[in-house]
C-alpha cells in the first residue's frame, strides 16, 4: 500500500480498516458521496444505514458502551452534522469513545454560507474531547489516527473529524502514521504510590467505610479488581447510575444505587460513613444532593483518571489520579489489615429493614416496577438492558439487579430521551452473548422510533419494551410533588399512537399488555423470539411515582419515601 497514490476517500477507509473498525453508523449525502462510493465495495466493515443522524450517534454510543470498542459515525455536512449533536453531547457526558466523521463543504467554500454548510467544529467544541478539521489530504491519516487514539485513551470521549469534500477527493501518497505523538496529551495511568498507601491505611482503619462506584470502573475494566477488593475487606458498595453492573447487584455487599432515586440505606450510608472511597465517579449533583451536607463525616478518597474531576464539586482528602483498575490492584496489595466493619454492617442492615424498596402490589393494577421486577426474575442479570430517560429508567436502576459490567446502558449525564431505541441497536450489533432489551417510556420512545426500521432491516433480535403510562411521567411526578399538581403539557393520553401497531406497520412482531397476569408470558415471548426485533407495549398505571426521592438541591438525608405522606422526612 505504501507509495501508491490514494484519494482521501480511500485513505479514510484504509485507516478505518487499520483501526479495526467493524461497524459504521451513517447516512450518505452530498459532501461524503465519494466515501460512500467506495464504502459500497468494502467487505471488512458493516455500514448501518440509519434513518436520522441522531440515531447514528446513539447507536455508535450503545455499541461502544456494550463492547468497550470505539463507536464510529459517518454523516454528511450541514444538517447531517448538526443532527449528530445530541448524540455527541450524550457520549461526552458519559465519557463514551466515539469518532464522528462529518462531511464538509470544499475548503474553498468554508465560511461562504455554502449549501449544507455548518461550522460543526465550532458547534461541537464544548461537547467533544477534541476535534479536527482536515484541510489537507496529507493531514488526513494522522488526524484519523489521533482521533481514534484520543477517543479511547485517558478519560474516553467523542472526537469529531470534519472532512471537506475536496480533501476527500484529493490524491496523495498514503503513509500509515505508526506513532501517535501529542505533546499536550499524556494521561496518567499509574496512581501515585504514596497516595495509594495512604488510602490503604485510612481504609484499613475505618469503622464505617463505603465504596462509591461510578462508570469509570466499568470503562477501565476494573470490575474484577473491585470485586476482590470489596470482598476481601468486607466493604459495602454503592453505585451511581453509570456504575450499575460494576459490582454484582445480587451480592449481599451491594447497596444498590445512591442519590436522588437511590436506596434509602445507600444514602444513609453516605451520610454516616467515616471513609468514602470514590472510584471512577464524579460527584454529580444527582448523586450528592446538597453539597454542604454530603458525606460530611467522611475522609474522602477519590480515584479518577481525569484530574479535573478531583476537587471539582467536593473537596477530597486523598486524591489519586490514575486508571482505577491499576490503582485498585495496588490498593489491595497495600492494605495493612482488613477494616472491622461488623457494627457498620449491622447498622446498614437495620436501615435496609427500616425502609425497604417497595411499591403497591395488592390492588392488581399493572405498574412499571412489576414489569421490571419480572424482567429481572426472567433474566437474573444475564441480559443487556438499555434504558431511555425518565421514570422507567429509575425503576430499572432500582429493581433490576445488574450483575455484569456493560449490561446496563443508559444516558446518565445528559439524560437524553430517545436514546434507548438507537442505543440498543448499537448494543445488539456489538453483542450476541446476551439478549438485548430496549426499554423506553412512551415519551422517549416516540422521539426516535424511526430507528425501529433499522432494527428490522438487520433483523436484530432486540426486545423492545414500551412502558406506556401516557404521560411524560418524570415531569408529571415533579408537577405532582412540587408544582401543585398542575400537569402542564405532560399528559399524552389521546396523543400517543398504538405503539404495537406502529411496530407492526414496520413488519415488527408486537403485542400490547395491560394486566399483571399477562406480563410473564409477554416477557417469555420476547425472550424466545429470535428471528428479529419484537416489541411489547405495557399499558401501566398512569400516576405512579418513583420513590424514594431526594428533591433537587436537598440533602440526601431528606428523602421522600412514599406518596401518602410526602412531608415525612427521614
Amino acid at each position: 500500500m505504501a507509495g501508491t497514490k490514494m484519494t482521501g476517500a480511500e485513505i479514510f477507509l484504509e485507516m478505518l480498516r487499520r483501526e479495526g473498525v467493524e461497524v459504521v453508523f451513517g447516512m450518505p449525502g452530498g459532501a461524503v458521496i465519494q466515501i460512500y462510493d467506495h464504502l459500497h465495495d468494502v467487505d471488512f466493515l458493516k455500514h448501518v444505514l440509519v434513518r436520522h443522524e441522531q440515531g447514528a450517534t446513539h447507536m455508535a454510543d450503545g455499541y461502544a458502551r456494550a463492547t468497550g470498542k470505539t463507536g464510529v459515525v459517518l454523516v454528511t455536512s450541514g444538517p447531517g452534522a448538526t443532527n449528530t449533536v445530541t448524540g455527541i453531547a450524550t457520549a461526552y457526558m458519559d465519557s463514551t469513545p466515539l469518532v464522528v466523521f462529518t462531511g464538509q463543504v470544499p475548503t474553498s467554500l468554508i465560511g461562504n454560507d455554502a449549501f449544507q454548510e455548518a461550522d460543526i467544529i465550532g458547534i461541537t467544541r464544548p461537547i467533544t474531547k477534541h476535534s479536527f478539521l482536515v484541510r489537507d489530504v496529507d493531514d488526513l491519516a494522522p488526524a484519523i489516527r489521533k482521533a481514534f487514539y484520543l477517543a479511547k485513551t485517558g478519560r474516553p470521549g467523542p472526537v469529531v473529524v470534519d472532512l471537506p469534500k475536496d480533501v476527500i477527493t484529493a490524491q496523495t501518497t498514503f503513509r500509515y502514521p505508526e506513532q501517535v505523538e501529542i505533546r499536550g496529551y499524556k494521561p496518567t495511568y499509574e496512581g501515585h504510590v504514596n497516595q495509594i498507601k495512604k488510602a490503604a491505611r485510612v481504609i484499613s482503619e475505618a469503622k464505617r467505610p463505603l465504596l462509591y462506584v461510578g462508570g469509570g470502573v466499568i470503562m477501565s475494566g476494573a470490575s474484577q479488581e473491585l470485586r476482590y477488593f470489596a470482598i476481601e475487606n468486607n466493604l459495602p458498595v454503592t453505585m451511581t447510575l453509570q456504575g450499575l453492573g460494576a459490582f454484582p447487584g445480587e451480592s449481599e455487599q451491594s447497596l444498590g444505587m445512591l442519590g436522588m432515586h437511590g436506596m434509602y440505606w445507600a444514602n444513609q450510608a453516605i451520610n454516616n460513613c467515616d471513609v468514602l472511597v470514590a472510584l471512577g465517579a464524579r460527584f454529580d449533583d444527582r448523586v450528592t444532593g446538597k453539597l454542604e451536607t454530603f458525606a460530611t463525616k467522611a475522609t474522602k478518597i477519590h480515584v479518577d483518571i481525569d484530574p479535573s474531576t478531583i476537587d471539582k464539586n467536593v473537596r477530597v482528602d486523598i486524591p489519586i489520579v490514575g486508571d482505577v483498575k491499576r490503582v485498585l490492584k495496588l490498593l489491595r496489595q497495600y492494605m495493612p489489615k482488613k477494616p472491622d466493619t461488623k457494627e457498620w454492617w449491622a447498622q446498614i442492615r437495620r436501615w435496609q429493614q427500616e425502609c425497604p424498596l417497595t411499591y403497591e402490589k395488592s390492588d392488581g393494577k399493572l405498574r412499571s416496577q412489576f414489569v421490571i421486577e419480572r424482567l429481572w426474575e426472567k433474566t437474573r442479570g444475564d441480559a443487556v438492558v438499555v434504558t431511555d430517560v425518565g421514570q422507567h429508567q429509575m425503576f430499572v436502576a432500582q429493581y433490576y439487579k445488574f450483575q455484569h459490567p456493560r449490561t446496563h446502558i443508559t444516558s446518565g449525564g445528559l439524560g437524553t430521551m430517545g436514546f434507548a431505541v438507537p442505543a440498543s441497536i448499537g448494543a445488539a450489533l456489538g453483542r450476541n452473548d446476551y439478549p438485548v432489551f430496549s426499554i423506553s417510556g412512551d415519551g422517549g420512545f416516540a422521539m426516535n422510533m424511526q430507528e425501529l426500521l433499522v432494527a428490522k432491516a438487520h433483523n436484530l433480535p432486540i426486545k423492545f419494551m414500551v412502558i406506556n403510562n401516557n404521560y411524560l411521567g418524570m415531569v408529571r411526578q415533579w408537577q405532582e410533588l412540587f408544582y401543585n399538581e398542575k400537569y402542564s403539557y405532560t399528559d399524552l393520553q389521546g396523543l400517543n399512537p398504538d405503539f404495537a401497531a406502529v411496530a407492526q406497520s414496520m413488519g415488527i412482531k408486537a403485542l400490547r399488555v395491560a394486566r399483571m397476569d399477562q406480563v410473564d408470558d409477554a416477557l417469555q415471548q420476547l425472550l424466545n423470539y429470535s428471528e428479529g426485533p419484537m416489541l411489547v407495549e405495557f399499558l401501566v398505571e398512569k400516576e405512579e411515582l418513583v420513590f424514594p426521592m431526594v428533591p433537587a438541591g436537598a440533602s440526601v438525608s431528606d428523602m421522600i419515601v412514599e406518596r401518602l405522606n410526602p412531608q415525612r422526612m427521614v
Binding site: 467544529i121 465550532g122 467544541r125 464544548p126 474531547k129 477534541h130 476535534s131 478539521l133 484541510r135 484520543l150 501529542i182 505533546r183 499536550g184 496529551y185 481525569d306 484530574p307 479535573s308 478531583i310 476537587d311 471539582k312 473537596r315
Partner: protein, 167 residues
C-alpha cells in the same frame, strides 16, 4: 484574587477558540487574554488574567490542562514574574492643557505618538497597575479612545547567589 496564567499551546487552527470557549462554557472570569508567537514556530503563548477562589483557579488550571492543544499551563501568580501591558490613549486637548498632559505622560514614562490640532495619542507601557493609574489621572482630560493590549507576563529567572570572594 487575580491570577495571571501562562499557557503554551499548539499553533494550530482552533486552539485559541478552545481556550476562549472553555472560559465562557464553564463560567470562569476572564479579565484579559493575549496571544502571540514564541521562540518556537509551532507554539503560541497565551496569557490570561482570571479571578476566583482557590477552588475555581484549581479548576481553571485543570480544565486548561485537559485541552489537547495546551502543552503547558502555569499559574504565574505563584512565581516571581514580570507583567507588562501597553495602552494607546487618545485625548482631546485644549490650548492650556497640552503641557499638562505631556507632563503626566512623562511621569508615566509614556510617549506622544500622534498629535493633531484637536487630540493627542499617548503610548504607555508598564505593569497593568501603572496603566490603571495613568488612565485614572488622564480621565479628567477626556479620553476619546483607548486600546489596551491585556497583560503579557513571563516568569523571572532564579536568582543565583554569587559565590563570596574568599579573601
Amino acid at each position: 484574587m487575580k491570577h495571571t496564567i501562562s499557557i503554551l499551546m499548539e499553533n494550530r487552527f482552533g486552539a485559541f477558540d478552545r481556550v476562549a470557549n472553555l472560559f465562557s462554557g464553564k463560567g470562569f472570569n476572564l479579565h484579559s487574554i493575549t496571544i502571540g508567537e514564541t521562540e518556537l514556530r509551532d507554539v503560541m503563548r497565551m496569557t490570561i488574567v482570571t479571578s476566583g477562589d482557590d477552588q475555581i483557579i484549581d479548576q481553571v488550571i485543570k480544565q486548561l490542562n485537559r485541552l489537547v492543544d495546551t502543552i503547558k499551563v502555569v499559574d504565574l501568580s505563584e512565581h516571581d514574574r514580570t507583567e507588562r501591558e501597553l495602552a494607546l490613549i487618545t485625548l482631546h486637548y485644549e490650548k492650556g492643557n497640552l503641557q499638562e498632559i505631556k507632563n503626566i505622560c512623562d511621569i508615566f514614562r509614556g510617549r506622544v505618538v500622534d498629535i493633531n490640532n484637536k487630540s493627542v495619542m499617548l503610548e504607555i507601557t508598564g505593569p497593568p497597575a501603572k496603566i490603571d493609574a495613568a488612565v485614572n489621572v488622564l480621565m479628567p482630560f477626556g479620553i476619546k479612545e483607548m486600546a489596551r493590549t491585556g497583560t503579557v507576563a513571563l516568569k523571572r529567572g532564579e536568582q543565583i547567589r554569587q559565590p563570596q570572594e574568599v579573601g
